[in-house]
Amino acid sequence: MTSLTAEDLKTRRNWQAIITVIVLLVVGFLVILPLVFLVEESLNVGDPMAFPPEAYGLKNFIAIVDEDINVLWNTLIIAVMATVMAILIGFTLAWILTRTNVPGREKLERLMELPYYMTPLVGALAWAVIAGPKSGFANQLWRAGGGSGDLVDIYTHFGIAWIMALFEGTVAFVMISASMKSMDPALEESARVMGASKLRTMLTVTLPLVMPGVLGATLFVFAEMLGSFAAALVIGIPGRIYVITTAIWDSTLAYPPDYGRASAMGLSLFVVMFLMLTFYRRMIGRGTFTTISGKAFRPRPMDMGRLAWVFFTFCLLYVLLAVVLPIAALLFTSLQRFATVILSQAEFTLANYQTALSLGPVRTAMGNSLMLGFGVASFGVLVMVILVWIIYRSQLWGRGSIEYLVMFPQAVPRLVFGLALLWAWINIPIPIYGTLWLLALAYFTVMLPLGVRTLAGVVLQIDKSLEECARVCGAGWVYQMRTVTLPLLKPGILAAWLLIFMACVRELGASVFLMGPNAKVIAPSIVNAFATSGTELTAAMALIQTFTVIVALAILFRLTRGTTKELS
């Protein structure tokens, strides 16, 4: 037997421990520390810029209720409206696409992913162009057709909710259709065999079984709506409709910036969202209705006859409103000198793209975003692979709490996280505030849940004995990771890389707080352009950003299709 010397093995053995400790320390530091600063600042009732605070108190929290009650009210109204719409959209789509014989079902299902990759920011800009008062395309057409006044006005509570619902609808769809798909059709079939009618089956079997999934999705979507920022920023601020996220943003713009107030609001929002998401996890995890067996069923679709085409139209209409129309409107706008939908008045030009691409700040912002995307995705995926391995494969004590830690940023609205990081790094004597380094740290931290979830999906599919076998053959941890785990994870790693890259290029919430004069990134720059220069230039910038994301997306689809073929 060729034996390995004991010393060889000792050093290899230690690597696992060393890497584990380093990764955990770094992640713990990144996730927890900003929140500590946030709590500290929210209790600061002295000079808001002083650190450490001169006096502690609850004044900031009381002020929310005293002075900003209408902000809370706006937030609630918009979130409720948006959630109801999103769930209606999601439920209808899920039901159509899993339970009926709608034509082209598989292609439609693929299409439904598209809105997810459109950013709410781009959507909000587009809908401002489509449905803004006076100059909005819809209103231009209305007046050209002889109408008077405005047909629609997006700068309302409903307008904000509408945009948020369009883009969150696909999330609701994915969640609800997952619970519909995971239901064993035999449950319904046995009701039919016992003599129940279609309707009775639906009411007594289908709905009760799908209900937890729908409730879960509602809770999740509502939490997301409370923390959503982009639409409220683009539409709400010009319309003077403030919700909690924009109010947080606004109070940091005042002079002197009221970080105490902002932190108190951010912390409150975080607590509410955290409770809702915890409740959601409980509900999903409880499994009193264990329809989710991890096995996907394809229920027998109901024959809808002519009605199938109505459903087909509904699906297309959703994609049209959420993706096609916004992109078309932006494209149309970006190609004109002054945006109009009346073709006889239109002056077509490529000047906006020229300006966008030649304007120094825009170019650097785009360059910075791409660079951050590459850097964070590449380095981040490496760390996340190790994290995923520790959580789901190692025997490490307390790995469950590590999972909790890593998933934690999901419950923190990006904007609040940005604020927390801002306050933390103003006061930590390492001068990275206002540089790309801080943005990179922030991106890495907020992308943790996304990356870890994507990779975990792949790791859990890999038969554990593939790794154990390597150990039995004599491989140490590093050797096993290098020769077995990482190669098998390759498709997952690529997918995670691209998802993180896309998310970085689109990042808005955390970036608005952390961007410095010398470290601009693209999404906040687009918002700035919308506020200060014309819609035409903004549209061009938004499309350039979207295009970058689409390219990454195309590669992603290519790769995932390639690997699914390989695995089957």
């Binding site: 037997m1 154990e468 053959c473």
Partner: protein, 354 residues
């Protein structure tokens, strides 16, 4: 050098509050092939994985060649990769991203063998399982049976002294399984390896083992050669789980005979020294004749049911012993209702430990 290669002592393994293995002790000699047999959840796989270092026991010890691999009292736990054992997994665990050759050569590369030596060893292992012609094929493009062979070649390639088998044949279809059984048995003899094999298939266990260890709910029920296990089951569990047997209740009478509850007196044998509290005997269905043989226990009965299985015929016979199952060769078939005499020797009427 002692003859003992593996020594497992008082092994206890817990999952949270559940005890999977509850004080298991056994030894495996050099070149011996031992099988852990039992129903699912009996702790056999957990025991095997503990020998490989893939499970962390709660207490006890595991020695290989006299070296402590795990010893709770000495707080010693050698990691898997340093134990020098090899293993064939139930799922084969053939790495799909490598070729057949790379799979087989993995253990050799880990041991930093030179190119020439590595190639020779890997090819020798591939020859053992007749897979050399597929050496360059990607492992993802193999059938189940071929993957099985690759897994076996990989486990043998680095010339391990101990090979562990975790239900290696359970994913193959019946025909292939029977073929591989023959091949495995031959390989064991040729390569002079020591092996521990886990299965829930009693036929497989009896066919390919030097000794069988029957386990149930985390403890060992009986250790013995296949013939001992079959002919002299110690407990009701072993009699039931291995082969098929009729269990008849009764009690030992003063003269050493067994008086059944139905009022029949039988001459029985015991593997152990009877202590008088025994209340059951087991009679293998295959050892009961339906014609009186001289010197046997005789009990009259009638055929209630006949089930034709092809390789054998199973009769259900009503008698003073209750209804007994009897397996006979598929010749001279008896009709339902026919009068018969149940006949079995005292050798085959085994007193079970209470």
């Amino acid at each position: 050098m002692s003859a003992t290669r593996i020594e497992v002592k008082d092994l206890v393994i817990r999952y949270g509050d559940a005890v999977a293995v509850n004080g298991v002790s056994f030894t495996v000699d050099r070149g011996e092939h031992v099988t852990l047999l039992g129903p699912s959840g009996c702790g056999k796989t957990t025991t095997l994985r503990a020998i490989a270092g893939l499970e962390q026991p709660a207490s006890g010890s595991i020695h290989i060649d006299g070296y402590a691999m795990y010893d709770a009292s000495a707080r010693k736990n050698i990691p898997t990769e340093q134990r020098g054992v090899s293993m064939v997994f139930q799922s084969y665990a053939v790495w799909p991203h490598m070729t057949v050759f790379d799979n087989v050569a993995y253990g050799l590369r880990v041991r930093k063998q030179g190119q020439a030596e590595l190639k020779a060893n890997a090819e020798r292992a591939l020859d053992l399982v007749q897979m050399r012609h597929l050496a360059e094929r990607p492992a993802s493009k193999l059938s189940g049976g071929q993957q099985q062979r690759v897994a076996l070649a990989r486990a043998l390639a680095f010339s391990p002294t101990v090979v562990l088998f975790d239900e290696p044949l359970s994913n193959l279809d019946a025909k292939l399984r029977a073929e591989m059984r023959v091949e495995l048995r031959e390989l064991q003899r040729r390569l002079d390896i020591t092996s521990v094999y886990v299965t829930h298939d009693q036929e497989e266990a009896l066919a390919i083992s030097d000794r069988v260890i029957v386990m149930n709910v985390g403890v060992i029920e009986q250790i013995g050669t296949p013939e001992q296990i079959y002919n002299r089951p110690r407990s009701r569990f072993v009699a039931d789980f291995v082969g098929s047997a009729n269990i008849i209740k009764g009690r030992l009478s003063a003269d050493g005979l067994f008086a059944t509850d139905g009022g029949v007196t039988l001459r029985a044998t015991a593997a152990h020294k009877p202590h008088g509290k025994e209340s059951e005997v087991a009679i293998r269905t295959a050892y009961i004749d339906l014609e009186a043989r001289p010197g046997d226990n005789h009990v009259p009965g009638t055929v209630r049911q006949r089930l034709f299985h092809g390789d054998f015929v199973q009769y259900v016979i009503d008698s003073a012993l209750g209804s007994l199952s009897v397996r006979r060769p598929p010749v001279n078939l008896l009709d339902e209702g026919a009068a018969v005499t149940l006949s079995f020797s005292s050798e085959h009427c085994v007193l079970l430990e209470a």
